[in-house]
């Protein structure tokens, strides 16, 4: 038998049709698998669409400034990095008289801009208005210091020098009072306080 005959015989063997039962069986398996592949692909598409929808929706809400304040601030911070401008979540303190070269997106930006100013950290510029307790910057920044003496105002004149000091400073002054020079300076302070109070009391009606 020559090579061509053998090759023909092998090809005839390969071309034999499948029996009907096996064909039906495998076709059923294929259609079941096709449905499951289709379901998997549909699920993947839905999940992908949900993720895209979530991001588009979030971006839309952020653009409209409709997110909760803290989230809006985060969205502004993140989107600002990719060059998308959205409104901030909090109103920032940006009084042009107190905060030159403003407005500032946040307090950090103000501090960075005024690196050479040692008091920049204490400034309310760029801070959320709610956190500094008012819309007027000068009042807000002075508030903690100006309120303390007023609350202790009803105390007697003898205690006035002590009451004007911050609680933390009291201990320091007591420890210092061992030296004569300190005693003298504290005496000077007492006398100057007394004199200023007496001036105030004399000027008042």
């Amino acid at each position: 038998m020559d090579e061509r005959d053998v090759a023909d015989r092998l090809q005839r063997f390969g071309a034999q049709p499948l029996d009907a039962d096996l064909t039906r069986q495998v076709e059923t398996t294929i259609s079941t698998e096709q449905r499951s592949v289709h379901r998997r692909r549909t699920r993947t598409k839905i999940a992908g669409a949900a993720v895209v929808g979530f991001f588009v929706g979030s971006l839309g809400l952020a653009s409209a400034g409709a997110l909760p304040a803290s989230l809006q601030d985060k969205a502004q911070e993140v989107l600002d990095r990719v060059g998308v401008n959205v409104p901030a979540g909090h109103d920032r303190y940006n009084d042009p008289t107190a905060c030159p070269e403003g407005p500032y997106k946040n307090h950090g930006e103000y501090v960075r801009t005024h690196k050479d100013d040692p008091t920049a950290g204490q400034s309310p510029c760029g801070k959320p208005v709610q956190s500094i307790g008012g819309s007027d910057g000068s009042d807000a920044s002075d508030a903690p210091e100006s309120e303390a003496p007023e609350s202790e105002a009803p105390e007697s004149d003898d205690d006035a020098s002590e009451s004007s000091e911050a609680p933390g400073d009291k201990g320091k002054d007591k420890s210092k009072s061992n030296g004569t020079t300190d005693d003298e300076s504290s005496a000077d302070e007492l006398s100057s306080t007394d004199s200023s109070e007496s001036t105030e009391s004399s000027s008042s009606p």
């Binding site: 090759a7 092998l10 069986q25």
Partner: protein, 156 residues
């Protein structure tokens, strides 16, 4: 030209030769394996892009890999790997028992080449690519295999 292929069409077109290939290559259960092969094809065919010739090579590459996996699993589980052709194929046609026996007189390399070339009806180039041999090596193996089969069938 690149086309999208439907799994059912691929099955109708290629299942008989895939079944014959699995059987001639010594698959332990060719019918079960045929189902496995076409499940894999059904999963992967939506992503396949290629011509009809490329599709044919791709289908037989899947069948060959599935068959090798089967042999590997059986040897790992110490199950017997049959080294004789399947005697009862799922076909309505009369089975060429002598030809199947003759195939097992060949070396593994000769049998693989001759089955892929004529039972699967792949080109020399496709067989060379699939088996990682040169076209010259495929032609040489094919020539020796056909000569051996011819002698075996003359004696039978």
């Amino acid at each position: 030209m690149s086309e999208n292929w439907d799994a059912e069409w691929v099955f109708r077109q290629h299942a008989p030769r895939v079944r014959a290939y699995l059987s001639a290559a010594g698959a332990p259960d060719a019918d079960d394996l045929l189902g496995d092969v076409f499940v894999s094809i059904t999963r992967a065919v939506p992503k396949f892009r290629g011509t009809e010739d490329e599709l044919r090579s791709w289908v037989f590459a899947i069948a060959r890999n599935r068959l090798r996996d089967e042999f590997r699993q059986r040897s790992r589980r110490s199950l017997p790997v049959r080294r004789t052709p399947e005697i009862a194929p799922s076909s309505d046609e009369p089975f060429d028992d002598t030809l199947m026996t003759a195939l097992w007189s060949l070396t593994d390399e000769q049998r693989e080449v001759v089955v892929l070339r004529f039972v699967a009806d792949l080109s020399v180039e496709a067989v060379a690519r699939m088996t990682d041999r040169s076209e010259g090596a495929v032609k040489s193996l094919q020539h020796r295999a056909l000569a051996t089969l011819g002698r075996f069938l003359d004696d039978a």
